[in-house]
């Protein structure tokens, strides 16, 4: 089939599937001739084939389907009654179509398959309401038991006898013989005339294409010269199902033989069982390898190494048997997008990248619905109407891109659109309006965090409920489904530019790579799908690097504040690590990162996930258990649940402690205050209260744009006003830096960026000696870390960047920066 054009190939595959359905439909139709539904379905199938064949210039195919369609439409409209005779000619038509398709598949052309007989039979069956069935029915029936009634058969063959004369191509006889082979296979060997055909047909299978046509022609001629002219439809149309099936098997067999010979069908249950056994084997292997590592016997060590290797390969092999390309589920999506697009009057182009990416069949099934939902969502809400797109300066045609790829033992599937994106402000407002969170909580969230709100149950941002989506069920269900198979979902969006939904799915469910860690003397497994990196800090470094933001511990990971969660705290245990070392597993959950502090990291190993009893599940922290290499049981941490539990309480605690801090600060001016030290150029140092720091970022200098005479950068889908602290405070820093160090401060959904030259340190503001040297934009100065440091008037700095910053929420003084707090 190499030479076949993609369109033709697709047409063939689709048609074969449709024809199988057609056979069932037609037979069922005989049982209930009145079923309009079935008739319509048959009509549609034939109609589709006719349309495509006309388009692809398969004239004979078009001819036969055309006349069939005529008859079907009259049957459907009730102008004709379905008699057994008419069913027969319809089946005959299906067989002819099949033969034509097989011929196209084999050689790329219609070959010598004759259609005039069928066309005549259908026309006859259509016109003669009562008389016609008589000659038509016996004729095809006679064709099968040809040897018994040669006289009758001859009448059936009569109209087709011209066939070889008409189309004497080399491929033609091959086709005819192949179809006969089908009959021969099914026919009892005792049939004298058909049996000899079988060897000839078999030679088709065994000899290369180039050779077989001639050989066959000879063979076929020699065996039964009068039969070579017989059109393939003739043996099949006998209404008996057996023959129909034989013909269909033949049609398929002919073209798909190459595949059929090299593959076998296996029960999925059997594969599941194999998978389980392999899981056990992997466990045992782990145990043996670990034990042998302590031995000195070289033979044993060698054997264990081989076992290790073989078990791995076996595992891989068994996993492969369950793998299917993601295209299996993607192939339905173009249709979904097209139909939806039409319905919504949007023009959308669907692009697919990585359609050959494979994943486990079970997972594939599980991902199907969520993926379809995401695609529908993108079409409905993501991509704007053509006129809106034009207004926004985008091409009228929207692009929806599906991407799949393997990435460190996971499959990453993305659904990306170039639509309007999700506006965090709108989204946040909606969440507050729905009572899903408080305005105060919202004001503390970064745009990226706000985006994750769409996964909350009962959330839908569609301003209008459409037919397609926007009924308020959706993303939360998608998320639950994805998580139930151990996957994760995250969403990224850039207002005006588009949205990306990213699914991370494990390759397989049963065996997962995991990191084993120790905490309070026990070992726990963390699936690597959630793991980003490991950070190990020695006591000295940990003392400085682990800082507190309003009572919550954070670690500054490459400039970004990483909230820390101590596993011992979550589990209610006491750490056994007393040397001050801190080991952080940086985990990602729902687009957010956090650091899990554990006692120590043991290693990474492939673990086999074992179900745990209901009582364990109810705890909501463990996704299962596993048996480690040394035979001990380890619990598998459910990172999503952990994040939800830990981060939520952390946030509320932090908010509580922030409130407490505010009160305390009001009461006493000697309140300890943590300060961020930054250099602003010219040797000057500025202290900024850490409470007012939301994030530390780096921004490329060339990303800075101008709005009026203000500077802004695009940041996480929003426009972030910039104040350059050196200019604001009249210092002269370097201006030609490529990367700007930026302190982001967010409050009430607005953010500003404060540019400094360098982030220096975080210090305690206590015992600082203050002076009242007052300057524009400063609250004063103090000695911090043995150096005189200016205290920034954060409020003034922010207003310099965004004069409207506080007026957006006039009700409160900004929560993070009460003036009293700044007085160190």
């Amino acid at each position: 089939m190499d030479g076949l054009d993609d369109i033709v190939e697709e047409f063939l595959v689709e048609s074969h599937e449709n024809l199988d359905q057609l056979d069932t439909d037609l037979v069922a139709l005989e049982q209930e001739p009145g079923s309009r539904e079935r008739l319509s379905s048959i009509f549609r199938t034939i109609h589709t084939i006719k349309g495509t064949s006309g388009f692809l210039a398969f004239n004979r195919l078009e001819e036969v389907t055309h006349v069939g369609e005529n008859m079907l439409s009259r049957l459907r409209d009730g102008e004709l009654d379905l008699t057994p005779a008419r069913t027969s000619v319809l089946l005959q038509m299906v067989d002819t179509v099949r033969a034509l398709l097989a011929s196209i598949e084999a050689g790329g052309g219609e070959g010598s398959v004759e259609v005039t007989g069928v066309v005549a039979a259908i026309t006859a069956a259509m016109d003669d309401t009562t008389a016609a069935p008589a000659p038509v029915v016996p004729a095809p029936r006679a064709a099968t038991p040809a040897e018994k009634a040669p006289a009758k058969a001859a009448t059936a063959k009569a109209p087709t006898a011209k066939a070889p004369a008409k189309a004497p191509t080399a491929k033609a006889p091959a086709k005819a013989a192949a179809t006969k082979k089908t009959t021969a296979r099914k026919a009892p060997a005792s049939r004298a005339t058909t049996t000899p055909v079988a060897p000839a047909a078999r030679s088709v299978e065994e000899t290369p294409v180039a050779v077989r046509t001639d050989e066959l022609r000879e063979g076929a001629h020699a065996v039964m010269p009068e039969r070579t002219v017989e059109e393939p439809a003739a043996p099949a149309p006998a209404a008996e199902q057996a023959d129909t099936e034989a013909a269909s098997a033949g049609g398929d067999g002919q073209a798909r033989r190459g595949v059929a010979d090299s593959t076998i069908r296996v029960d999925v249950d059997l594969l599941d069982e194999l998978m389980l056994l392999v899981g056990e084997l992997v466990l045992t292997r782990n145990q043996i390898v670990q034990n042998v590592a302590r031995q000195t016997d070289t033979d044993l060590i060698r054997a264990s190494q081989r076992l290790n290797l073989i078990a791995s390969e076996l595992q891989e092999g068994v996993m492969k048997t369950r793998m299917q390309p993601i295209d299996h589920i993607w192939s339905k999506l173009p249709r979904v997008v097209r139909d939806l697009g039409l319905q919504l009057e949007k023009s959308i182009r669907l692009e697919m990248e990585g359609r050959e990416t494979e994943l486990d069949k079970t997972l594939l099934e599980a991902v199907k619905d969520p993926l379809t939902h995401l695609v529908r969502n993108s079409v409905d809400h993501g991509i704007e109407a053509p006129e809106d797109r034009k207004k926004a300066g985008k091409p009228a045609e929207g692009v929806l891109t599906l991407r799949a790829r393997h990435e460190s033992g996971q499959v990453v599937v993305e659904v990306a659109d170039d639509g309007a994106g999700i506006d965090p402000a709108k989204l946040g407002a909606k969440a507050v309006q729905r009572g899903l969170l408080t305005a105060d909580a919202l004001s503390r969230m970064s745009p990226a965090d706000i985006l994750q709100l769409i996964f909350l149950p009962g959330f839908s941002t569609a301003s209008a409920v459409t037919n397609v989506s926007g009924r308020g069920v959706g993303m939360d269900v998608v998320k639950t489904n994805i998580e139930s198979i151990g996957g994760t979902i995250e969403v990224e969006s850039e207002t005006g530019r588009g949205t990306v939904c990213r699914l991370r799915i494990p390759l397989t469910l049963a065996i997962v790579p995991a990191l084993t860690v120790e905490c309070a003397g026990d070992r726990y497994a963390i699936p690597q799908i959630s793991l980003q990196e490991l950070v190990s800090l020695d006591a000295e470094k940990a003392a400085n690097a682990v800082e507190e933001v309003g009572g919550a511990q954070v670690y500054r990971l490459r400039g970004e504040l990483l909230p820390l969660v101590r596993l011992t705290d979550v589990l209610g245990l006491t750490s056994e690590r007393h040397d001050g070392h801190v080991v952080i597993a940086v985990l990602r959950s729902e687009g957010r990162r956090f650091g899990l502090v554990v006692d120590r990291v043991i290693n990474t190993e492939e673990i086999v996930v074992k179900a745990v009893g209901g009582q364990m599940k109810a705890i909501g922290l463990y996704s299962g258990a596993t048996v480690l290499g040394d035979g001990t049981v380890a619990l598998i941490l459910d990172v999503q649940a952990l994040a939800r539990r830990a981060l939520r309480t952390e946030t509320t605690e932090r908010q509580d402690s922030q409130k407490a801090a505010l009160k305390a600060a009001a009461a006493s001016e000697t309140e300890r205050q943590r300060m961020l030290l930054a250099a602003i150029g010219g040797g000057r140092r500025v202290a900024i209260p850490l409470d007012t720091v939301t994030r530390l970022e780096q921004v490329r200098a060339d990303a800075v744009e101008k709005v009026g005479n203000r500077e802004v950068v695009q940041y996480r889908g929003a426009i972030l006003p910039i104040v350059r602290l050196d200019r604001h405070l009249g210092a002269y820093g370097e201006t030609d830096r490529e990367v700007l160090e930026v302190i982001v401060y967010a409050d009430h959904g607005r953010s500003v960026a404060i540019v400094v030259e360098e982030i220096l340190d975080i210090v305690d503001g206590e015992a600082a000696v203050r002076s009242d040297i007052d300057d524009l934009g400063l609250l004063g100065s103090a000695v911090l870390g043995d150096k005189v440091t200016e205290l920034l008037d954060v409020r003034a700095a922010i207003l310099a960047a965004d004069p409207a910053f506080y007026s957006a929420s006039p009700a409160t003084t900004p929560a993070g920066v009460p003036a009293s707090l700044l007085e160190v």
């Binding site: 056990e280 026990d522 209610g572 009893g613 009582q615 364990m616 705890i619 463990y622």
Partner: protein
Amino acid sequence: MTAPIRTTAPATSGQLATFWLDGDLYGIEVEHVQEVLRSQQLTRVPLAPTAVAGLINLRGQVVTAIELRERLGRPPRPEGTDAVIIVVRLHGEAVSLLVDSIADVVDVDAADFEAPPDTLEGQARDLIRGAYKLHGQLLLALDVQRAVSA
């Protein structure tokens, strides 16, 4: 709790596998018992109900272990004594019970059965179906179904 509903305690004849726990003899239907194990390494489960002693590795299968002393409201097992693990299979799922020591399989007669005395109280009342009056010893029939639903 649903204890009062049990007005007609099922008095059954048959075989009970018996074991000792804090000086008392208990029995569970022998057909529930899958196997008995010497002490095993337990993996504790933080935040689990207190009766869950941990998880054990039963030939590659992870099985929850219930501390029966805790379930019955008895004091903890004295230091230095190892528990014996009885693995029971209920509805196809294996669960294990930690007991003090294992005793014989005993044939019991329904005629010897009596409902738990009214003085029996607390959580133990939910778990004990009644007592078989054996020669010189009471055998307490444990409702294994309830015992494992910690």
